[in-house]
Symmetry: C2
Subunit: 151 residues, 2 copies
DNA sequence: TTGCTTAATGCAATTTGGTTGCAAATATAC
DNA sequence: GTATATTTGCAACCAAATTGCATTAAGCAA
């Protein structure tokens, strides 16, 4: 069998059942849109929403492409998604700082009610205690009020 | 001057400028829709989204009315809005518990990635430290993972 | 109770945000 | 350069949320 992409075969033999498993590795490609959008997010002081990225990139690419690029950048763990208190979603780059072993984004976001900016406060780590019948996988801690510029 | 609604006059006299300010007080009304929706949210174990409220109320009122009622209930500080990590907005009643003097919602929310339920963990209070050039007015701390039922 | 005034509602239309399918374009491995 | 799978653009689609306006009804005072 031949494929143009990377792949591996796994073989399992258990209880008289033989199984060949084909694992296809999708190769990630770098494109103009992807690099430009990542640049934009990385160099931005504040987190950006989809519409903001759309305005900033002009006619670089289609709005659908922006959605798909953002999705890929998240999968590659290059950016992260932030849900602001009012329900809008913004994106910021990851300055990991990951909780070493657990790979949990555990830092505070600040959302300014006046200029609507959202910022990662990478240095601040919140602490909490929660009943242990809950399994915590992600932490999303957003403070809102007035940012230094608007105070 | 005469008005059907409540109003007050304020008078300011400063630097040779005399100013009469008319403050009109909007009277809040209780309607069937409003009481029903508040009941629903208050008695619910978990936070409810707009669509969920729509399904639960049936043809009690128009969906637009639900949006407007929710907005009013938030203004009256009877319910609060919760943005889940994926950007959907849910509503829960306020069991204040308000930071006595400051009137800040300061409690943890848990969002289950399996059953999609969102719960207020009123008893848990997160602690954090933030640069003092920020003015914090709201705290929105959402943990996500698996809830006791789904674990 | 009745009438008056303004708040709240219903409905239709519109805007906004996000998704899907498919053909065409293009990045990467060889 | 060529082959092949990934990425893109476009159009269509869908759901969520907002707006304007005419109508209804809550609450106050007589
Ligand atoms: Zn600001
Ligand atoms: Zn962040
Ligand atoms: Zn659950
Ligand atoms: Zn809550």
């Amino acid at each position: 069998m031949q494929f143009g992409c990377k792949y591996t075969w796994y073989f399992i033999n258990r209880n008289n059942v033989a199984l060949y498993i084909l694992v296809i590795m999708k190769t990630i490609r770098n494109t103009a849109s992807k690099t430009a959008i990542l640049e934009l997010i990385t160099h931005s002081e504040v987190a950006l929403s989809h519409v903001e990225i759309q305005k900033l990139t002009g006619d670089l690419c289609d709005r659908v492409t922006i959605y798909r690029v953002l999705e890929r950048l998240i999968n590659e763990d290059l950016i992260h998604k932030i849900a602001t208190p009012d329900g809008t979603v913004k994106y910021a780059s990851c300055h990991h700082h990951h909780d070493n072993h657990h790979h949990i984004h555990n830092h505070v976001h600040f959302s300014c009610e006046k200029c609507l900016s959202v910022t990662c406060l990478d240095s601040v780590e919140p602490s909490y205690k929660i009943p242990d019948n809950y399994l915590v996988k992600e932490v999303n801690f957003t403070l809102s009020g007035l940012c230094p510029k608007c105070i």
